[in-house]
């Protein structure tokens, strides 16, 4: 039965039998309860398929998914012009059954509220203001117009703000901006309006590029405007603050008719604890987060691989597991991809062929490929011009989306399926690649007090990286290195570099080298001057200490307990060669990493600050570069160049250590063998090379 307000008795006549009034009156004692929270989901009210009775849906604007919240709203007729009231957390709108205002609480039962001062007609456009406790209703036509109904009174008296000639718009819903007090709407031609509800003046903000019947419109807390098109359910997003606002496709929602939308305008589109949505994890330029209208799917039974988990925002460590790149991406050839689907669905894929950071139309690589449950072979043709001339290989991204949609773009929300993003490497035809190590990183850990013996916590500088070596016909044509500065437990300023022993400076395509630190391309070419080093040497970090800010209470970068929460400093760099170098003569493995003192800074008694670059520390028995001029035999150093012995003490102790894994370095001032007791046998007796797999947990970086 309908709820009934006391005010009704004094209001406009309602054709209800007296017994109904009594019944309704008694139901009022079951006081409506407001919604518990300001919900992120939108409310969409429309009529039943087989009757005019209203039915309420909850719509997730992020994915377009919807569910019935109530199919019995205690009315036999439609409801329209609804809005969520921030002041009391009820929904207000217009009920067609008795041609009056209705109020809806969390049980979704409509309660009628008598209103004075309204014309005898129905309203299908309306919303509750976000800055004043009032419902606004609008109907086009000279006899009607825009009406304001205060909601903070015991009786409801409507006042016409503007007549239908002043405000003459062909609109189907309106919504209030969360901050500026104005209402917004889009007419059937796509014209966006802002409406000053104090006088009914409407301003044209421009055509948003989409037309149709936008019967449900909403705002979110950031001022983004969402409009749902009745005909196909498409949800578009509009940034009304732009000079020329345009509609961006946002999600596939439900198609509908005779509908209206309401939403708490101060709620985000996705709650911070919402685990129902899967995001991609490509860099943000491709569109990954909700702010960038990233690809996203409501999780369900259709997914890639063995499972799917949701997250409120793109996760760095995603659960991507359904796609296997079993052959290379060679220009001019097909590549085979194995895609595992939980159920039949459509696969779409985009590959950023030109590595410009976006998926555009020409990047569509797979279109509506029908997959069956289980493994599917998918073939993709790699364009012959996918790489710039002279580039052996290049990393880029692929996005794969599985859903029930035969038409799908690289961004936007879908109410089912999954998105998985992967970095891939496109190579010229015939390129083979080796990887060192096979997974994770190799770790290079330095003591920086050479030629004096250090404290052997091996964390003064810790760099971890992986080397990909590209070859064609057994000739090395490029090295690509990606990794991170993991820790700096030093007071001295140290740079970090990698020498490519045996590769001449002039053999490098220096203009193609790009060093990225934390994703940012560095302005300075990292290839060290030939005047300093005739062999190719990449200066990865000119000063390791210039790339981080110490956490409060920390003396060093990620070496002390409670000081490891900040992220490592990532880097990537490649070294393309002009002509190939025979693999037998090319540097292998971790290459030749070393640290050097930074000019202008003190580095102890054996380093002149103005010539600090002359000081280097390499792995044990690795010769220094020609730039090295500090000399051997100082202090504790017992190098013997003529015997091929470098950077060691008289006891054979090193000043740098390579660990062929993503190693957890000892904590500050913790001796290596206290953190890794198995190192003793390895070092002194050439024991198990897996010594680094048995740390004493409390002594290593967490």
């Amino acid at each position: 039965m309908l709820g009934f307000d006391i005010g009704l008795k004094q209001g406009k006549a309602m054709n209800l039998p007296y017994y109904t009034l009594l019944t309704l009156f008694s139901s009022v004692s079951l006081a409506q309860e407001p919604f518990d929270i300001c919900p992120s989901q939108a409310f969409l009210v429309q009529k039943h398929d087989n009757s005019n009775a209203a039915i309420m849906f909850g719509v997730n604007l992020a994915t377009g998914s919807n569910k019935v919240l109530s199919d019995n709203m205690n009315t036999s007729e439609r409801i329209n012009g609804v809005g969520f009231n921030l002041f009391d957390r009820f929904i207000y709108g217009w009920g067609y059954e008795e041609n009056t205002m209705i109020k809806i609480g969390k049980d979704f039962k409509a309660q009628k509220l008598e209103v004075f001062g309204l014309p005898d007609t129905n309203f299908f456009v309306g919303d509750v203001s976000t800055t004043e406790n009032a419902l606004y209703l609008y109907r086009r036509g000279g006899s009607f117009g825009l009406y304001r109904i205060p909601l903070d009174q015991t009786t409801y008296n409507a006042k016409r703000v503007a007549d239908g000639n002043t405000l003459n718009l062909s609109i189907f819903d309106l919504a209030f901006h969360p901050d500026n007090g104005k209402a917004y709407s889009v007419d059937s031609n796509g014209m966006l309006y802002s409406i000053d509800v104090s006088n009914g003046n409407a301003a044209e903000l421009g055509n948003i590029g989409e037309s149709g019947t936008f019967g449900a419109v909403y705002f979110d807390v950031t001022g983004q405007f969402y409009i749902s098109r009745n005909q196909d359910g498409s949800i578009f997003r509009i940034d009304v603050a732009q000079m020329s606002p345009s509609a961006e496709f946002f999600a596939y929602g439900p198609s509908s008719s005779s509908n209206d939308g309401a939403r708490c305008a101060t709620a985000p589109v996705i709650d911070v604890d919402d685990l129902s949505v899967d995001f991609g994890d490509a860099p943000e330029s491709y569109g990954s987060s909700i702010e960038k209208n990233g690809a996203r799917h409501e999780i369900g039974e259709l997914y890639l691989g063995s499972g799917i988990t949701g997250e409120p925002q793109p996760a760095k460590e995603d659960d991507d597991d359904g796609v296997f790149f079993v052959t290379g991406f060679e220009t001019g050839f097909e590549t085979k991809i194995i895609v595992n689907a939980s159920r039949p669905g459509y696969l779409h894929a985009w590959i950023d062929w030109d590595s410009d950071g976006v998926f555009d139309t020409k990047d569509k690589a797979v279109s509506a490929r029908e997959l069956t449950a289980g493994n599917n072979e998918v073939f993709v043709n790699v364009p012959i011009d996918a790489l710039p001339v002279g580039t052996p290989s290049q990393q880029t991204w692929i996005r794969l989306r599985l859903s029930d949609k035969a038409e799908l773009g690289p961004k936007g929300g879908v109410n089912n399926g999954e998105v998985e993003d992967y970095p891939i490497t496109i190579t010229n035809s015939g390129i083979e690649s080796s990887f060192y190590p096979s997974s994770g990183y190799t770790t290079i850990a330095f003591e920086d007090s050479w030629p004096e013996q250090g404290d052997y916590d091996f964390n003064d500088v810790v760099v971890q990286y992986r080397v990909r070596k590209d070859m064609k016909d057994n000739q090395v044509v490029q090295y690509a290195i990606e990794g991170q500065l993991t820790a700096v437990g030093a007071s001295y300023h140290n740079g970090f570099a990698i020498r490519f022993e045996g590769i001449e400076h002039g053999a490098v395509q220096s203009q193609r080298i790009a060093l990225r630190i934390n994703g940012e391309i560095q302005a300075i070419n990292p290839l060290e001057s030939a005047a300093i080093s005739e062999e190719a040497t990449l200066i990865v970090f000119n000063d390791t200490k210039s790339h981080f800010q110490l956490l409060s209470g920390c003396r060093f970068f990620r070496t002390e307990p409670n000081c490891t929460s900040q992220p490592a400093v990532t880097f990537s760099v490649s070294l393309p060669l002009i002509t190939g170098v025979a693999d037998d003569f090319a540097p292998q493995g971790a290459l030749d990493p070393f640290i050097f003192a930074v000019n202008g800074f003190s580095h102890g008694a054996y380093v002149q600050p103005s010539l600090a670059r002359q000081w280097e520390v390499h792995l044990k028995n690795r010769a220094p570069t020609p730039a090295f001029a500090t000399g051997f035999g100082l202090a504790d150093d017992a190098s013997s160049p003529s015997d091929g012995l470098f950077f060691q003490t008289s006891q054979g102790l090193p000043f740098a250590l390579e660990v062929g894994a993503t190693w957890r370095h000892p904590q500050e001032k913790v001796d290596l063998i206290k953190a890794y007791p198995a190192f003793v046998e390895f070092a002194t007796q050439k024991g198990s090379p897996s010594w680094f797999q048995s740390p004493v947990i409390e002594h290593v970086a967490q």
């Binding site: 060679e330 990887f435 060192y436 003190s602 012995l645 054979g652 050439k686």
Partner: protein, 157 residues
């Protein structure tokens, strides 16, 4: 042999990494720096004292502490069509872990021989050869480290 050491006024080195000397700003000093050359052949010092810290260790001068392994691989499958090989660590089901590969290469008719550097001792490697023909399954070949072998070899034919 000539050693001339630069002497700075007061440098107290404590802690690690050159200690905790305050050097956040450029230091202006007037050091005299020479390039001393000392050539000696370090000799391990035998010790019978307990090993409590790294500085107690005695390590062979020639032992560089590397854990790398060189693997010689030879592939001669006498293919008639193009194929592609992924040499990777093996999953528990024997398939290749494509996220842990050492080498990826297109294959043709020719014999391929390579020397690959492994950063650490792997459990088991699998060479998974994929064919471009639709609906074909990959060929798999496995390799494990042989501790008694002087040369680690993986021959696929």
């Amino acid at each position: 042999m000539k050693i001339v050491l630069t002497i700075f006024l007061i440098i107290v080195l404590t802690g690690c990494g050159g200690g905790s000397s305050p050097d956040e700003t450029n230091v202006v000093t007037t050091p005299e720096t020479q390039t001393p050359v000392v050539i000696t052949t370090p000799t391990p010092i035998p010790t019978e004292t307990a090993i409590n810290k790294t500085s107690d260790l005695v390590i062979e001068p020639q032992f560089d502490l590397s854990t790398t392994i060189t693997l010689n691989i030879s592939i001669d499958l006498k293919l008639t069509d193009r194929a592609f090989v992924n040499l990777c660590e093996a999953n528990s089901d024997g398939s290749a872990n494509l996220n842990a590969c050492i080498w990826k290469a297109p294959l043709g008719q020719s014999l391929i021989e390579r020397k690959l550097t492994l950063a650490r001792l792997p459990n088991m490697l699998v060479a998974e050869v994929w064919y471009y023909t639709p609906n074909t399954t990959p060929s798999r070949f496995t390799w494990q480290f042989e501790p008694d072998a002087t040369v680690q070899q993986f021959i696929i034919q």
